[in-house]
């Protein structure tokens, strides 16, 4: 019991600090990648290659004046950043980030809390984040902030459905919500869930962009129309907390994608990491593997942000309700039938054979979807009248 408590406390401390440092570096990465994509250099003055820029930004935010609008609801105004900050950090607790570490007192699972309810917990906690944004928008007593808050609530609730539905596909295949089990299954079958669940991953990725309020779905902020949306009235550390919340949500979403679809901390093309006794070397290597996978998604988030323009509000809602929701329902139906057929009729267990068979179905569906999208039947932009 003491061992469990001490190990958990140490893990909480390490994970919290890793996320905070990761978020800090992510803000720098965002700015530098953005600059590189625009043929600039980006912040490179503070420290080597600008590595200390986040520290300078943090210091600036500590020293800045805390403004408080006269007509704002003081209690909620202060509470809102906390409400959005805390769930953002809580969600990472159930994500396993490396293989178990052997110590003198016993083996430590490299996950803060190996909850049996796994990603149900993530869905539950991450939907609390919307309260922070809505409260911020409402408590500011500012039209733009309120509009941002309203948009955020509508958008996050809409895309949560598609997000949840796409994870149902993982549930169907894994038969379990515990993330350690999901990873173990992918390792033993030697086939990551990206193969049998490609389409679910695509839907998950799009919904994750919307859930984290990143471009092309950053309507709650929309600096062109709403100044800065829900955090218009915030300054100094309160603003910083919203910022950290956004980026740690990104980290969690990326880590979740790596876990659910890309085998978590599994090192590809080897069984060495998942079989035999745990060793510190394995823990380190698997941690690096997990970090790299997460980094790829984080980079993609940034890449998408600096490429695509913002959706119009009706396009956003149309994509969520008219495309993604029916698509996931249709997909789950097909997938359920296919899995039932393979398991009950053919008596297969999840393994490479079943993965590739399902992968074939996914590719067929994906090709059909892309063909349909490309014909302009689903997502459409504004249309101008041709002038004579």
């Amino acid at each position: 019991m003491t061992f469990f408590l001490v190990a958990s406390a140490i893990k909480v401390f390490i994970v919290f600090n890793l996320i905070m440092v990761g978020v800090a570096l992510l803000t720098l990465l965002e700015r530098r990648v953005c600059a590189w994509m625009q043929d600039r250099l980006g912040p490179n003055r503070v420290g080597p290659q600008g590595l200390l820029q986040p520290a300078a930004d943090g210091l600036k935010n500590f020293l800045k004046e805390e403004t408080s609008p006269a007509m704002a609801d003081k209690t909620l105004f202060t509470l809102a950043p906390i409400v959005s900050f805390v769930p953002a950090l809580l969600t990472f607790a159930v994500i396993p980030f490396a293989s178990p570490l052997p110590t003198r007192w016993g083996t430590v699972d490299m996950v803060v809390a190996d909850l049996p309810i796994g990603f149900l917990y993530i869905l539950a906690i991450s939907s609390l984040g919307v309260y922070g944004i809505v409260l911020a928008g409402w408590a500011s007593n500012n039209k733009y902030a309120l509009l941002g808050g309203l948009r955020a609530s509508a958008q996050m609730i809409s895309y949560e459905i598609a997000l949840g539905m796409s994870t149902v596909a993982v549930l169907l295949l894994a038969g379990n919500v515990t993330l350690t089990r999901v990873i173990a299954q992918q390792q033993h079958a030697h086939a990551w869930f990206i193969i049998p669940l490609t389409l679910a991953f695509v839907i998950f990725f799009i919904s994750a962009l919307a859930e984290t309020n990143r471009l092309p779905f950053d309507l709650p902020e929309a600096e062109g129309e709403l100044i800065a949306g829900y955090h218009t009235e915030y300054s100094a550390m309160k603003f910083s907390m919203f910022y950290i919340a956004e980026y740690s949500n990104m980290v969690t979403a990326s880590a979740l994608m790596a876990t659910l679809f890309f085998g978590g901390w599994d090192v590809p093309f080897t069984r060495w990491d998942s079989t035999g006794d745990p060793t510190p070397i394995k823990t380190l290597v698997t941690f690096i593997s997990f970090g790299l996978k997460t980094f790829v998604f984080l980079f993609t988030f940034i890449w998408v942000r600096w490429t695509l323009p913002r959706f119009r509000y009706d396009q956003l809602m149309a994509l969520g309700w008219k495309v993604l929701l029916p698509l996931t329902l249709f997909y789950i139906t097909i997938l359920a039938v296919a899995i039932w057929f393979f398991r009950s009729q053919l008596g297969w267990d999840y393994g490479p054979g079943m993965a590739w068979a399902l992968g074939g179905i996914n590719v067929a569906l994906l090709v059909a979807l892309v063909w349909w999208l490309d014909r302009g039947r689903i997502v459409s932009g504004s249309v101008a009248q041709e002038t004579a």
């Binding site: 892309v370 932009g381 249309v383 101008a384």
Partner: protein, 168 residues
């Protein structure tokens, strides 16, 4: 229609942005790897793509003769032509009858850097310079006196020449 304006044909039917998205992603990624255009200013003040023009009209410089005296003969043409009225000139005369400026001051805050003073000067004494780093700690330091004008070392501007409009 102005020359060189590309008129895009707008889609008249509903279109998908799927291909456009992928194309955009490829474009941004290719830019990620391209050489950057940023000049690291205080360390790097000119590059092969960008140098300050030799016709740049910056803060003034007074040229001097071999004895180190200002070439100015205090003819009064520059304060006369100056549209911003920023040159203060008090002429003096020595025992041999040579005119020289007793006071010659240019208020760089009032100056509009038109370069008329250089153009009108019969002795090629006052020049506008190819120079742009002029920061000071107090405002009164921006009134340059004769001593300071003579002490400047930056290159002088080659003004636009009507007989050689392209600077060849």
């Amino acid at each position: 229609m102005a020359i060189g304006v590309k008129v895009m044909k707008r889609p008249t039917r509903q279109t998908s942005y799927l291909r456009a998205t992928l194309k955009g992603m490829a474009l941004t990624f290719s830019h990620l790897l391209r050489p950057k255009v940023t000049m690291q200013y205080p360390e790097e003040k000119s590059s092969k793509d960008w140098t300050l023009s030799s016709r740049w009209r910056g803060t003034h410089r007074m040229l001097t003769d071999e004895q180190g005296r200002a070439k100015c003969v205090a003819c009064g043409l520059c304060p006369q032509i100056c549209p911003a009225n920023c040159i203060k000139l008090v002429p003096g005369e020595d025992e041999e009858g040579h005119r020289y400026p007793l006071i010659y001051e240019i208020d760089e805050f009032r100056c509009i850097f038109c370069g008329y003073c250089q153009e009108v000067c019969p002795e090629e004494a006052i020049h506008v310079g190819v120079h742009y780093e002029n920061s000071e700690y107090s405002r009164d330091r921006f009134v340059y006196d004769l001593e300071r004008l003579c002490a400047q070392t930056h290159p002088v501007s080659t003004l636009w020449d009507p007989s050689d409009p392209r600077g060849e």
